[in-house]
Symmetry: C2
Subunit: 303 residues, 2 copies
């Protein structure tokens, strides 16, 4: 039997749940897929309704200068995407077209713009919060969303290069950040049970780059700064992180100069929902046709 001909991704293509573009990790989304994403968005909003978070939605790119300051290129240079553009003359343009026509590399003449693709939904948030001045005593709570980019082409449908991340971000005292993360770890179990997804929660680390990165990853695990909700999608042995729960201590507070009401450096924590991964987990475990999904799951997603 031809495994490759019958992969989960191929079945998603065959049924129009996703649409092939010729680039691994870059797909069009069909009606059923989007209905699931929208249903989950509503379910997450209902879960957090009484928290009264401030809603901000970001475009898929952010300010390059702020991105540089964020330290992302130190930790994850291999995943970042910078946006480049043509700023030449008509003569340069003719040379560019010749290059394209001859199948040559025409991209060398592109110059970096002020924009990079957003790597995680919360990166553009911190400078906005910092600009507002010291936090109120109750701290800050934000409900954010962005299309994110990570340059890691893969045939695993759960490892997309462009995907949506919904996040809640808590900014305030250490105990406010800690209790926020605890409450979302509890909600995550309810969420996965409502959606009838097999799951477990485990300590995790980010994919830091290089040798120095391996030490950072190990320190992150030791301090239990990152947890993930894992659901088997492409593989049972290596389940996919569909939500993450991160405590940044005072890293972003220090970096951006965010202070509490009493003038101390703010601590931050976030919970991120990988919307495409969660949708794929549902298609994997309940079937390619959403009409056949368990009634309670359909009801939770208003399908």
């Amino acid at each position: 039997m031809c495994q490759a001909c019958d992969s989960f991704l191929d079945r998603l293509f065959a049924k129009g749940v996703l649409h092939e573009t010729g680039v691994d990790g870059l797909y069009g989304r069909g009606q059923a897929f989007e209905a699931v994403i929208e249903g989950m968005d509503r379910l997450i909003t209902r879960t957090a309704a009484n928290d009264h978070a401030e809603v901000i939605r970001f475009p898929p790119g952010m300010n390059r200068a702020l991105f540089e300051k964020s330290g992302y290129m130190k930790n994850f240079p291999q995943l970042a995407g910078t946006v480049h553009s043509f700023a030449g003359s008509e003569r340069d343009h003719l040379a560019l077209l010749d290059n394209i026509h001859n199948g040559g590399d025409w991209t060398g003449g592109q110059g970096a713009t002020d924009i990079v693709l957003t790597p995680a939904a919360c990166y553009p948030l911190y400078p906005i919060v910092a600009r507002r001045g010291p936090l109120a005593p109750e701290g800050g709570l934000f409900d954010i969303q962005s299309y994110c980019f990570r340059h890691e082409p893969s045939k695993d449908p759960a490892r997309m290069q462009m995907f949506r991340m919904r996040e809640f971000v808590r900014i305030g005292l250490p105990e406010q950040a800690a209790s926020f993360r605890e409450s979302w770890l509890e909600r995550a179990r309810d969420f996965a049970e409502t959606l009838q997804l097999p799951h477990h929660i485990d300590v995790a680390n980010d994919p830091f780059f290089g040798r120095a990165g391996r030490m950072m990853a190990s320190s992150q695990r030791e301090q239990a700064l990152k947890f993930e909700l894992l659901v088997p999608i492409e593989s049972t042995e290596n389940p996919t992180a569909c939500q993450s729960f991160n405590y940044h201590q005072d890293h972003f507070g220090e970096l951006w100069g965010i202070t509490t009401a009493s003038g101390e450096t703010a601590h931050t924590a976030c919970v991120g929902f990988g919307m495409e991964r969660l949708a794929l987990a549902l298609f994997k475990h309940h079937g390619i046709d959403t009409n056949g999904w368990p009634n309670s799951v359909r009801a939770a997603l208003s399908l």
Copy 2:
């Protein structure tokens, strides 16, 4: 009086309708702004409900090889955005970090990926339709959406670098494409009246690059291939195109090899909604606070 201190964009920032990022044309969206976008999305869906278009949603990037073939770099090189990434060694990485640290240009070492930012929502659609083979006799009708990128930094809030475009695309016989465009020109008037926006519809041209481009623009106008729904936002003399209605003749059908049921080259037409521009038009004409908008407009948008 200081005009600049009191611009429409500044008022949008002051009320948290949009959030500044430090890059012109790149903004976070507040809760009220997103509620208007969502309301318009639902209104457009209701308007087209009986058309039974196939729904596809695209990520903000597309396949670079297909983009090259599309001819976009011939016509609008100045607007395109290519996505570049780091693929170097640990040593290259250290040099890159030194560059960032010293405020040097670190982006020269970034190499082009297989992805470019999507310039208009319909660009990724045509290759997908072509791959399916000849059209059915009734042709094709698609309801698509994408975040789009155009590199034109501006303080005019209606000229964003990253914005959402909702589109309907008709693919079939010349008369199918023509009658599709006619019907949307009629619907556009109803749409603008429902939203109580001052408007007119006029023939238009795309911003083709360079001297050769001026001839293409003039030919496009002469043949009346493009119309726009114009609403004053930043200026009464130069109203903003909030919707466009395009007849591509057999351009995309020929380019991608899309054929009708009887084997002829398909004609295509599209109507595009600039979602951010329409939202801004509403904030401009009805006020910064959506609570004060006319009841019938609020009802149409389910605010």
